[in-house]
Structure formats: structure tokens, C-alpha cells
């Protein structure tokens, strides 16, 4: 028997709720390691509160943060898999179901284009009205379909950017710019330690998609030399948890480098994620 509409909807809803309420093992490890290194008393207070919050959220099945975020769905579709009719509609229904059950923050803005831009037409009281961002799709070998729900909060969206960098045929030029953006964003973020997601691509859209892919794949226990270097350089700024100072401005960095074009320009996309990033969970349809 093939995939049923109900299975797709319920599994999607469950992934959304898990992403919003549960710290993954690699997040716990990252915070415990940060605490071991941290001597600043107020920064330790913040890190301990974040850990206690994670335990409470999982136990009560309560949102980790009141900004429950905008749902982003990342699909990895097996080369031998076939999608049933209505698959994407069922995912949309699952996102709405998850938001209502969580409950998500009712922050969908009502009205026409002008009213939505100026937030003058009121807000929906229905958490499920929020809707998800356009779905990202990749292919994987085999017959499975993997669906990851990422919940992206609003604070990091003020601090992130997607912009060209003239590389001058030196990777150092690009890395220096990435670190500079990250420090600038972290300075104002508030919800520190931050988690950095970078995508490097050929177009603005591709780079932003790669940054989301970096968040989807990110595991704090697996850091490349480049990722660790960026984390260390941002931590040297001493901004610290909640901006109070100390060792832990950045908990980790995730970078996805895509194909590049023959040009003096690289397009870099950065999300300066908050202390709960990446809020994500994955389900498989076999």
C-alpha cells in the first residue's frame, strides 16, 4: 500500500512540533561543551537557562521560544520514489495542523499587498494561517522521501543578508567578509549564542537555498576546519551569551559551498541564527 494522505499530513505535523519543542542530542552536547569552557558568571547563567528551557519544553511539549518561526520544508526525494497525487497539499495541511497543535504564534498578517506590507489589515487568530515558505527540493539515491521541517524565527532575519563578495581570487577575502558579517550581526542579535548558516552560490536565490541546506544538514558535533575557524573568530569578539560577554558568542557554524561560476564574484548568504537554531526535525516516508 502506498503513502496515504493522512500519513503525510500527520508525519509533517509531528515533525513541526518536534522541531519546535525538542533539542537534538548534538545541541545538548554543544551547550554542555560551551558551559565547560565558560567562566563568565552571567554568561553561564544564560547557558544554564537555555538548557533548562530545553528540558522544560520537551517535558511539557511546549515551544522552546514564543517566536515559533516561519515553517520551511526541505524535501529530499529518492530517485526511485514516486510522489502520490496531492503530496504537496498534504504537506501544507500537515504544517497547518502542526502549527495549530503546537500552538504556533498567530502572526499571519491579513489583507491585500499594501495592508500586508504595512501590517494595517490586522492579524489572523489562527496559528495555522501562517503558511510555509516555498519548498526546497533535492534528490537522493534510493526509494525514500525525507522531509525536514525547519522553524525560522524572526530576530535572525534582521541580522542576515545575501550579497556579492568580490573574492580577488583569494578564499581569505571571502572568509574575512563572512566573519565580519557574522560579528556585525551577532553584536545586535540579542539571542546569543548565535548559530551561523552560510550558503555560497552563483545567484542570490541559490546562495539562500544553500544556507537553508546548511541548516538542514547541520550537526554541532561535525564541524569542518572552515566552520570551526569562523566560529573561533566570531567568539574572539567576546560578545557572549545574551551580549553579556564571555567565551560563547557563536555555538557553531554551518557552511554549504555550491558550484561556482567563472567570475570575480561569489554570492554569500548568511543567517545569523539564534540560540535555538536550527529548530528542525526530519521524517522519512519509505
Amino acid at each position: 500500500m502506498g503513502l496515504t494522505s493522512r500519513e503525510i499530513t500527520e508525519k509533517t505535523a509531528e515533525a513541526l512540533i518536534r522541531a519546535s519543542t525538542v533539542f537534538r542530542p548534538d545541541q545538548y552536547i554543544a551547550y554542555q561543551q560551551a558551559l565547560q569552557k565558560e567562566n563568565h558568571p552571567q554568561a553561564r547563567w544564560v547557558l544554564e537557562k537555555i538548557l533548562k528551557n530545553a528540558w522544560a519544553a520537551e517535558e511539557k511539549r511546549y515551544p522552546l521560544c514564543d517566536d515559533t518561526g516561519i515553517p520551511h520544508v526541505f524535501l529530499e526525494i529518492g530517485e526511485q520514489a514516486s510522489l502520490p497525487a496531492g503530496f504537496f497539499k498534504d504537506i501544507e495541511a500537515g504544517i497547518a495542523m502542526g502549527l495549530r497543535e503546537l500552538p504556533g504564534r498567530p502572526m499571519a498578517v491579513l489583507g491585500d499587498d499594501y495592508e500586508r506590507i504595512s501590517q494595517s489589515g490586522g492579524l489572523s487568530e489562527d496559528p495555522g494561517a501562517l503558511g510555509m515558505a516555498p519548498v526546497q527540493v533535492r534528490t537522493i539515491p534510493g526509494p525514500s522521501i525525507r522531509l525536514t521541517v525547519l522553524m525560522l524565527g524572526g530576530g535572525p532575519e534582521i541580522r542576515g543578508k545575501t550579497l556579492r563578495v568580490f573574492h580577488r581570487h583569494s578564499v581569505e577575502t571571502v572568509i574575512d567578509e563572512m566573519v565580519s558579517w557574522a560579528k556585525e550581526g551577532a553584536e545586535k542579535l540579542g539571542c546569543l549564542p548565535c548559530v551561523l548558516f552560510f550558503g555560497i552560490g552563483r545567484t542570490n536565490l541559490e546562495a539562500a537555498s544553500l544556507a537553508l541546506e546548511a541548516a538542514k544538514d547541520g550537526d554541532f558535533t561535525v564541524q569542518s576546519e572552515l566552520e570551526q575557524r569562523i566560529t573561533n573568530e566570531v567568539n574572539s569578539a567576546g560578545i557572549g551569551a545574551l551580549g553579556l560577554g564571555g567565551e560563547t558568542t557563536c555555538l557553531g557554524t554551518f557552511v554549504k559551498v555550491g558550484p561556482q561560476r567563472a567570475s570575480g564574484v561569489r554570492i554569500v548568504s548568511l543567517r545569523v541564527g539564534c540560540c535555538f537554531d536550527p529548530r528542525k526535525a526530519t521524517v522519512s516516508f519509505d
Binding site: 522552546l64 540579542g190 553579556l244
Partner: protein, 169 residues
């Protein structure tokens, strides 16, 4: 750890300094981007009393209030940070949020003997500190309306006080 009860006196504020960990109990207001400019306008037009709002010795927590709970939003967003001088003049003693603030805001806080405190976005923990909530004014803003919360031992750290700021390094 200083335990504070609202409304707050000038003397209580005088004794606080940056990096102090505090716990706030009593009634506090909430507001963010949508409602704080409306609150400033009401203060300037001397309409606060008509709205049943008393900001003398008050705490304003920069948050939405929704079924998802409460948690600080970025206080350095334009509409929030620009409300701080006028609301301090109106009597607000603690502005509670997250993120660094400009030097001009540090100066205006000093002038009105108000302070800025930060708290982590630990919504699941806050649910235990939140005893009641009601819409106080501007209900049309939904989750962004001015709410009044009753809190017990709500935790925060003083980030800006009397001209000193943890964000100046």
C-alpha cells in the same frame, strides 16, 4: 539577587547596576513594534489615564503575548528603541528585552533614571513565572496589543543603568 516588586521606586532603581541579576514580581506591561508607538502617542496626548494605564514605576517587557507564550523580541528594532525615551519620561523604570541599544538611548535612560534589562528567550521556563494575562489597551493589535501580565520572580540581568552599558566594550 535583588527581588523587585512593581511598581518600582526611584530608590530601587538607584541601587541597581549593570550585570545585577534581578527577579521581578507583580504586574508588568508588554509591548512591541506595533503598540509602543501608539502608547507613546497616548502619553504625549495625555490619554494614558483615559486608557486606564499607569506607567509610574512600571516595567515594559518587549514581547508579544500569545498561546505560544512570551519571550523577548529585539529591543533595538526601530519602533521599540525609539519608544524608550518617551516611555521613560512617562514613568517606566525597567525596559525589558534583548539586544544592544544605542548610546543615545543609554543617555536618555540615565536622564530619566530608568534602566534596561535583558532576559533570554526561554519561553518554556517563563510559563511557570506567568500567573495571569489580560489585554490592557489597543486590542486591535492582537498578540501585539498592550498586555498586562502578573509575574512571579521573572529573571533578568541589568544591561544598561545610570549611563553604563554592558554593550560598550
Amino acid at each position: 539577587m535583588p527581588k523587585l516588586n512593581t511598581p518600582l521606586s526611584e530608590k530601587v532603581i538607584n541601587e541597581l547596576k549593570i550585570y545585577d541579576t534581578i527577579e521581578i514580581s507583580g504586574l508588568i506591561y508588554t509591548g512591541r513594534d506595533a503598540v509602543l508607538p501608539k502608547l507613546v502617542k497616548a502619553f504625549k496626548e495625555k490619554q494614558l489615564e483615559n486608557l486606564g494605564i499607569n506607567l509610574r514605576g512600571a516595567v515594559i517587557f518587549h514581547t508579544a503575548v500569545s498561546p505560544a507564550g512570551v519571550g523577548p523580541t529585539s529591543s533595538n528594532k526601530v519602533e521599540i528603541e525609539s519608544s524608550i525615551p518617551a516611555l521613560s519620561e512617562a514613568g517606566v523604570k525597567i525596559h525589558l528585552g534583548k539586544g544592544s541599544l544605542d548610546k543615545k538611548t543609554v543617555e536618555s535612560l540615565k536622564y530619566y533614571n530608568s534602566i534596561y534589562a535583558v532576559t533570554p528567550p526561554v519561553t518554556a521556563l517563563f510559563s511557570a513565572q506567568l500567573k495571569s494575562k489580560r489585554v490592557a489597551a489597543f486590542a486591535e493589535e492582537g498578540m501585539e496589543a498592550l498586555h498586562e501580565l502578573e509575574v512571579v520572580d521573572f529573571p533578568a540581568i541589568v544591561a544598561i543603568a545610570h549611563g553604563a552599558s554592558i554593550f560598550e566594550r
